[in-house]
Subunit: 261 residues, 2 copies
């Protein structure tokens, strides 16, 4: 019954918090509405930001504009500390545990799909200079960064990638980057230690305006039509993993910096 009383006390506490009047500008209100969770000012920052991250990683938050201003330091600490690394390793462990249970046909059509940004490659060196998702996304500066082709591998993903190749999976890379970025992307992947992918699929001109979910689902469907069996799919965005022609198992990597619809 102690727990029951605790729940009642917390209910009252939260109810009074949610009814407190928050003085913010209209612009800020719009942003908060799209972010979905209220900016309860009395809740400690870490607690608030951990819960915000929960809703982002479970897809409860849906499409959100940018990291809440009060969580900028939290996201920076998460991305550059040991938590992001540890979460990535845990996801790679899950992926590999599943991969080892898959019965491969051995016809070269046993596919595992990887997204590129924040899945195989880490753009932390870019985001460290751009507020870790707390700034509005700047396409020009990000494209310049892509052209540099210096993004490091996410260590857990490189380990998984190499073990999947060894197990006999055919690796397909499916990214929202465009055909214009093919050379820089391939060069960067090799620089980071990746090799022996079967195919690198990028957005064509004809994909312009399509949501990532639709574009990636269509490409997975094409792969299935070619006879590929998509056993696994790794991505940091829910739009990498959902839609149609989804993989038998999908693995969500952490990314509290941005969302792609």
């Amino acid at each position: 019954m102690a727990i029951f009383r605790l729940l009642i006390i917390l209910t009252v506490a939260y109810t009074s918090l949610s009814q407190s009047i928050i003085q913010i500008s209209t612009e800020k209100q719009t942003l908060l509405a799209s972010d979905g969770i209220s900016d309860h000012p009395k809740i400690p920052n870490d607690l608030y930001c951990e819960s915000w991250r929960f809703t982002v990683e479970t897809n409860d938050a849906g499409i959100w504009a940018q990291v809440p201003a009060r969580c900028e330091g939290f996201v920076k600490d998460y991305m550059t500390g040991d938590k992001y690394q540890s979460d990535s390793e845990a996801v790679a462990d899950n992926s590999l545990a599943y991969a080892k249970t898959v019965e491969l046909h051995g016809d070269g059509k046993d596919a595992w799909i990887f997204d590129v940004d924040e899945t195989l490659l880490s753009n932390i060196p870019y985001y460290v200079r751009h507020g870790f998702g707390s700034e509005i996304f700047d396409e020009v500066s990000f494209d310049n960064w892509v052209d540099m082709a210096e993004a490091p591998a996410i260590p857990a993903s490189l380990r998984l990638y190499e073990e999947l190749l060894e197990l006999g999976f055919t690796i397909i890379l499916l990214t929202g980057r465009t055909e214009f970025q093919r050379n820089a992307t391939a060069r960067n992947l090799e620089y980071a230690g990746y090799s022996n992918w079967e195919r690198l699929i990028l957005r064509h001109n004809s994909d312009h305006g399509k949501s990532a979910t639709i574009y990636k689902s269509e490409r997975r469907k094409q792969l299935e039509d070619e006879g590929y069996k998509i056993h696994g799919n790794s991505g940091d965005q829910w739009s990498d993993l959902t839609g149609f022609a989804v993989a038998k198992r999908s693995f969500k990597l952490p990314n509290p910096m941005y969302v792609i619809a």
Copy 2:
């Protein structure tokens, strides 16, 4: 470049950890394999358990047997402290923000589906006496607890439930509990403060042996065939939310204590 060096250092650190030999019994090894992530003994408990929780809540872990022994205290602290409460509130905020954007038809067929256990009702008073998911699930003692009909509401869910009714949604309850538990379940829901649901759907005899995903998808499909438009769906299990006839938006509530396939 400092970040790049950091990543390399962490890679080396993790690689050496993942190659360390873990001395465990065969029985324990099987358990770890089903849990998916390796039991790196050198990683601090909180870091390990936070990452384990990440993989559970994102569905990366898939089906797992029970809370890892080393995370029993972590899960207890999470469930009884302010984090579970805060995460539940954030999910309710997301759900309500979405609900307010839905254009209702006003024909009584604008449905929102709720699961029951760990979604509307909290079984913490039961799990506080049963290791918070670190013990093998005991159906007999849990059924006795259900018959007592004393589970409290999750405060955030009660708030959401009432606001959805006010907005004009028709509430449908879809639970994995069986028809034999109908009276106890309805009595408990009322005791916890819930009322005015349109329908309480429980497992029939004919659902015996079906996975939760299939059973719940079939019932959602029946609702659609009756003309219901399923705008939202709230559940603590991925098997509440995935499969077919899925809702327009699904909301995953936290639950690191157990998984239902």
